[in-house]
């Protein structure tokens, strides 16, 4: 049985505007890594935003455990059910790594005696050096910020993890480290991990590769027209 299901979902940024997604259907299961691939501008980030309930579909819906996520409290959904690793990290710049992680745990309502220690452990396990833990996150490198963002996303142990081009601007060895973490989360912790990527390597490491154009009825129907630049 699938954990998350997209049912006949369409989306346009403005009412009556161009449909980025049209009649999309997909299912996602626990314990697997999904790689969402496609050319730039195909609507990968848009789809991820919908999966994160940051915006509402024009038609259709998304179900998690058979519940329509848009009918419930989308804030609660975001802070408990999904962990999001944004393309540009979206960390709170004035806080340090630990504070960023603890805040997410707080928002999720995690009741632990020492959240700070747990955040530290988590960050260290993701490869943040101890002396970088209490520096403002803006002083950290891209790779380090990526790790902090991942730590934040998994700190409250959501069943679904969404990551938008998590290895986009990282070197090869860091990329491998990051992928190892995702594999660990999916295969050992049983999370449903959905990664947007345009890296063939990453896509090949995933359990399921989903070319976004194949999901998208609209794009499929016009796949021939696609090769001829009409617009």
């Amino acid at each position: 049985m699938s954990l998350m299901k997209i049912e006949d979902m369409s989306f346009a940024y403005s009412a009556g505007g161009r449909k980025i997604l049209e009649h999309v259907n997909a299912e996602f299961e626990e314990g697997k890594i999904y790689a969402l691939v496609g050319r730039s501008g195909a609507g990968k980030t848009t789809l991820l935003s919908l999966l994160a309930a940051l915006t509402h579909p024009t038609e259709g819906s998304i179900y998690v455990n058979d519940e329509d996520i848009f009918k419930g409290d989308t804030y609660k959904y975001r802070c408990k059910d999904v962990g999001i690793v944004f393309q540009n990290y979206n960390l709170l710049p004035k806080m340090n790594a630990v504070e960023n992680v603890v805040l997410s745990m707080d928002i999720a309502g995690i009741d632990l005696p020492d959240k700070k220690q747990r955040a530290k452990d988590l960050l260290i396990s993701l490869g943040i050096a101890e002396y970088d833990l209490d520096r403002p996150v803006l002083q950290l490198s891209g790779g380090q910020q990526q790790r902090v963002a991942m730590a934040r996303a998994i700190s409250y142990e959501p069943p679904i993890i969404l990551a938008d081009e998590p290895t986009g601007n990282l070197d090869d060895s860091t990329e491998k480290d990051i992928m190892a973490i995702f594999e660990d989360m999916a295969h050992r912790a049983g999370k449903c991990v959905i990664i947007v990527t345009h890296s063939k390597q990453i896509a090949n490491m995933a359990d399921v590769k989903i070319p976004i154009d194949e999901l998208n009825v609209h794009i499929k129907d016009n796949s021939l027209a696609e090769s001829h630049p009409v617009n």
């Binding site: 980030t45 915006t55 804030y75 959904y77 802070c79 408990k80 997410s104 934040r152």
Partner: protein, 531 residues
């Protein structure tokens, strides 16, 4: 809980922003505290002053009512004359109102004027001036050289009671006696070599065939016991007083009957409290007092005059407070709006990671409230600690500006609003030389209408043409030295409560701005348009 902790952490993280916000609230708070303290000081000073005041009030003509005329036109002289003419309240009527529950005690005086055979009135150019002014407004042929005043009781002889006059030889006439006995001034005695036991023969100035004899039982002397420099400046007036003959009202009444003299009777009511004084007017009207009369107290008027600079300051403080709150509130509003704009990325991230907008707003309001509370507390404490010296400093300049204002209007007398046409009013000022205990004697009977008219003219003349004399002959009124020029308390419990309200209002204003800002931002828009 974490929301509050996060709010406190944010205050620390963004020191510059917090300090800027705090400083603005602090400035509003200290200004508001000072303004409110000044208002509190004025209120307290007034209440306490009135509590300590022994109030004597009188029924007087309501000048506004009479001067109003018909159809917006100023009244003609004859209209005014009619107003004055019908203004006589009989002693019976005056006594009727003394029965009212608000009245503590009642006394009355009568006065008339007469000439004397054999003896001469003390005179000097200055004295004549004073004497004329001091007469019951009868500047023409029927006016005598001497003013004879009759007192219903010893209490009525306020100048003796308050120590401005004392018997130096002989004794006072017996209270309420019908015996034709009087006391005269030491100047008059010396001038005419009169002594206790002598008899003076008086003549009705309008009808020289009518005479009466009065025995001197005592000699009084004006003393400069208090407010000596006012007394000094009122020299002319003192000369005028030298020709005042005092006796019992009952005796005066007897004389008036036998010598066909007109007596102007004035009643004075004393009150146990300011509240009673205020109650008296409505009670009197209920008891049948015509609406053209009003109740006035020179004690209260004087006191209010003394409070003028403080009241002015209090009014300025009110406007300052309003301006400060409006401008301060606007600045705070704009600052909040800007800082929310600046923080929209933060709002977007918090919303994206699942903190709902209500919680984000709450966090922002906590930040605003915490800074505001500290700033208001600091402003309030510093404001209250400095409120007394600041109030006194501002009061000093208010006093001097009130002074120069009243000089511009022709001396301190300019402050007295009473249309100087009330002849009794004027005489009265001369009778009682000490402003602190001055009473306006209830005007009841002016002898005839032309008197009232002529004195209206002469009085306004003196007010406009000779500023100097205006100053002098207004001595009964408060001098500029009498202004309340310092306060002992300013900030109080009420100010504290008001400061809390100010604080809540400021928090509400910027809190609302923050909340609407937070609600406005859509996390996706913020996050996707960032790069």
């Amino acid at each position: 809980m974490y929301i509050f902790r996060n709010a406190m952490a944010n205050i620390r993280r963004s020191k510059g922003r917090s300090i800027l916000f705090g400083v603005i609230v602090f400035i509003i708070a200290i200004s508001a505290c000072l303004a409110l303290s000044i208002r509190a000081a004025a209120e307290t000073t007034r209440a306490e002053g009135l509590k300590d005041l022994s109030i004597t009030g009188n029924i007087t003509l309501d000048m506004d009512e009479i001067m109003q005329g018909e159809g917006g036109q100023p009244p003609s002289k004859s209209d005014m004359r009619k107003g004055f003419q019908n203004s006589e309240l009989s002693l019976t009527e005056l006594e009727k109102y003394s029965e009212l529950s608000s009245v503590k005690s009642f006394y009355y005086t009568g006065s008339t004027s007469a000439n004397a055979s054999k003896i001469e009135a003390v005179s000097s150019s200055e004295g004549m001036g004073g004497g004329r002014m001091g007469g019951p407004g009868m500047d023409q042929e029927s006016s005598g050289d001497f003013t004879i005043t009759g007192y219903s009781s010893d209490e009525a002889m306020t100048q003796f009671a308050n120590g401005n006059a004392e018997i130096t030889d002989g004794k006072l006439f017996t209270e309420g006696t019908e015996d034709l006995t009087c006391v005269i001034s030491s100047s008059l005695a010396t001038y005419n070599s009169l002594k206790v036991g002598d008899t003076i023969k008086f003549v009705n100035p309008s009808d020289t065939s009518k005479t009466f004899k009065v025995k001197v039982v005592g000699i009084y002397k004006q003393t400069n016991s208090s407010s000596s420099d006012q007394q000094g400046r009122g020299g002319g007036m003192m000369m005028g007083n030298s020709n005042n003959i005092y006796m019992s009202y009952a005796a005066l009444e007897k004389i008036a009957k036998s010598a066909s003299l007109d007596v102007a009777t004035r009643g004075s009511y004393t009150f146990a409290s300011y509240e009673d004084y205020q109650k008296f007017e409505s009670q009197a009207h209920e008891a049948g007092l015509d609406s053209k009369y009003t109740v006035e107290s020179m004690d209260v008027n004087n006191y209010e005059h003394q409070l003028q600079p403080l009241e002015n300051l209090s009014t300025y403080a009110k406007y300052f407070l309003i301006i400060m709150l409006v401008i301060g509130g606007a600045v705070l509003l704009i600052l909040t709006m800007f800082s929310i704009r600046e923080r929209k990325y933060e709002i977007g991230v918090l919303a994206a990671i699942g903190m709902d907008k209500k919680k984000i707003s709450r966090q922002f309001i906590y930040e605003i409230a915490a800074i505001s509370m500290i700033a208001i507390m600091l402003g309030g404490v510093i404001g209250s600690l400095s409120s007394v010296p600041v109030t006194n400093k501002l009061l000093a300049s208010s006093v001097s500006s009130t002074q120069s204002e009243s000089f511009d209007r022709g001396g301190p007398g300019g402050q007295q609003d009473g249309m100087p046409g009330d002849p009794q009013d004027r005489q009265d000022q001369d009778d009682q030389s000490n402003s602190d205990s001055t009473e306006v004697q209830a005007t009841s009977a002016t002898t005839n209408s032309s008197d009232a008219d002529s004195s209206t003219d002469s009085a306004s003349d003196s007010g406009t043409t000779t500023a100097d004399r205006g100053d002098g002959d207004r001595m009964g009124g408060p001098g500029m030295q009498d202004y309340v020029d310092s306060v002992t308390s300013a900030a109080n419990m009420k100010v504290t409560l008001e400061m809390i309200l100010v604080g809540l209002a400021l928090i509400a204003v910027s809190g609302t701005a923050a909340m609407s800002g937070v609600m406005k931002y859509d996390p996706l828009q913020i996050l996707t348009t960032r790069d």
